[in-house]
């Protein structure tokens, strides 16, 4: 009997802590999502305290889904950002993993250089990219475009070709803080940070690939592309799925990057929207939070199934 209860006792602190961590705040969110609850209201001071008498039913959800204009924009923008990042990181990650998965001089250093962006903290990543690289005046973006314009300007003085170049317009650097393009800035910086993650995982998986199968394919005259298509890609199916799911979960809750790039101007996602609601309308923030939990769960179920399956082997 002691043999059975000791293991249970050892697990108890972890289980209890995680249970509290999950249940207490989440049930409060659920509760707040059904009541009228604002932080400041001069006309309705009774709403500034959470209370059952302010019951609103599904009213907050109705407000968030149909009346507040930003919810669907946030969903759309989230999906655009996450989708773009996924396509870019998986494609780049596959190509780079294949590239580094052969021995060549300095391979260790190449690996170290490639993996480094992953360890940069998100706030530094965003500050570094948006200021020093993407800024249209002071960043490398602006400096490069100005340099290009300078070269073209110089070419205009040439006798014959000059008249051709004088027809060229001045190049305008893209401003990544602007409403239309701030999502691109986020995509660029997160892709930079997470491609190394994809590379690392694909590389780990490539090392367990069956070499003899590949050699047999070479002997049968299969070219490199068909070897990749028919042997390597199926072998990488599971790692790709895992990279896609883990990244989806992380990137659906991007925050620091969006905050730093444009303070959500023209570029919101659900966590950002929750943050905005939280400055006053707690009911709406909580309803949005519950919707975000549901969205994350849809992705998480698939991931958990897959991870659970590999658990016991």
């Amino acid at each position: 009997m002691a043999n059975r209860s000791l293991p249970r006792l050892l697990q108890t602190p972890a289980v209890v802590l995680l249970l509290l961590w999950m249940l207490v705040p989440l049930s409060m969110t659920l509760y707040f999502s059904f009541i009228r609850y604002v932080l400041n209201s001069l006309s309705r001071p009774e709403w500034t305290k959470p209370s059952l008498s302010n019951w609103r039913g599904l009213g907050n959800y109705e407000y968030v889904l149909f009346k507040a204009k930003d919810f669907w924009f946030a969903i759309e923008n989230s999906l655009f950002i996450v989708g773009s990042i996924l396509v870019l990181t998986v494609t780049l990650g596959l190509a780079l993993a294949m590239l580094v998965n052969r021995s060549f001089p300095g391979r260790g250093i190449v690996r170290v250089l490639l993996i480094s962006p992953f360890f940069v903290m998100p706030a530094v990543n965003a500050v570094l990219w948006i200021n020093m690289i993407l800024d249209p005046v002071l960043g490398l973006n602006g400096i490069a475009v100005a340099g290009l314009n300078g070269i073209i300007d110089g070419l205009r003085d040439f006798p014959v070709l000059g008249s051709f170049f004088s027809l060229w317009p001045e190049f305008e650097p893209i401003s990544f803080r602007a409403t239309q393009s701030s999502a691109y800035a986020v995509i660029i910086m997160v892709t930079w940070q997470w491609t190394p993650f994809a590379v690392l995982i694909f590389m780990t998986s490539l090392q367990s690939e069956d070499e003899s199968q590949k050699e047999a394919a070479i002997l049968d005259g299969a070219n490199a592309w068909s070897r990749f298509r028919n042997l390597t890609l199926p072998h990488l199916g599971r790692p790709i799925a895992i990279v896609v799911m883990i990244q989806s979960i992380f990137h659906l809750s991007l925050y620091a990057e969006i905050e730093i790039v444009s303070r959500g101007n023209g570029n919101k996602n659900l966590p950002y929207l929750i943050g905005e609601f939280s400055t006053n309308n707690i009911g709406a923030a909580s309803a949005t939070g519950i919707l975000a939990v549901i969205l994350a769960n849809i992705v998480a179920i698939f991931l958990l199934r897959m991870v659970g399956k590999s658990l016991m082997d």
């Binding site: 993996i115 992953f118 903290m121 002071l138 599971r238 809750s253 998480a300």
Partner: protein, 278 residues
Amino acid sequence: MALSAQTSTFSRIFWPLLAWGIALIFFFPIFWMVFTSFKTDADAVKPEHLFAFKPTLENYLNMTENYDYWRFAANSVITSVFATVFALIVGVPAAYAMAFNPSRHTKDILVWMLSTKMLPAAAVLYPMTFLTKNFLGIFDTHFLVIFVLCLINLPIVIWMLFTYFKEIPKEIIEAGKMDGVSTWGEIKAILIPLAWGGVASTALLTFIFCLNEAYWTVRLTTTEAATLSKLIEGNRAPEGLFFGRLSAVSTAAVGPIIVLGWFCQKQLVQGLTFGAVK
């Protein structure tokens, strides 16, 4: 035959060069940050001083004055160390029990633990602020940051340890039991030497995750317990006037973590894919 020899000469030179090129591009932003940190703020925004400038250490020397760097760094390190230690104290026994005495619920418990990691943090932002500020009075304390960092990393800690412990052959432990070794003796003589490596790499990776955490540490602190993430987010410099000093403080914030990260590439795969990619 000649054809294949030709292709291999081509691929022996071309592909490694491409790999080097891309690796350098990926590393470039980090290099640029370090490079800019040796320029004065004035030089950092002048195109004519892009490469030609007089290197200076003033940005690093003035880091305390400009940003109070060491206070934030100390907060980051203290909270991350304690969070890692507590996560191990809670996680090691749990993972040990699950790996060596699995019950039929073990798998469900593990998957459930992981699912807590997937809850979007923003969904519980207000309740957490409310609870810690109005109710418990621990907002902006080291204790709170440690507690939260410990909890958000606990599932990963348990998963990593579990996958490590599972690889230790059970027969060794059972042989010890046959020889009449006590449970404590068993842990001391057999388990610790075998599990040491796994625990150490779990600790290192957890420490890195704690240092880089950027949602809770920013939103549950103001000044007292503010970490490096908070420092950087608070100095986003939209006007770009302080590129030099901003680069220096950023380098000081991420440099040590990047170096630590180089040592745990392998654990990263295991820790982030929960043992599902080998």
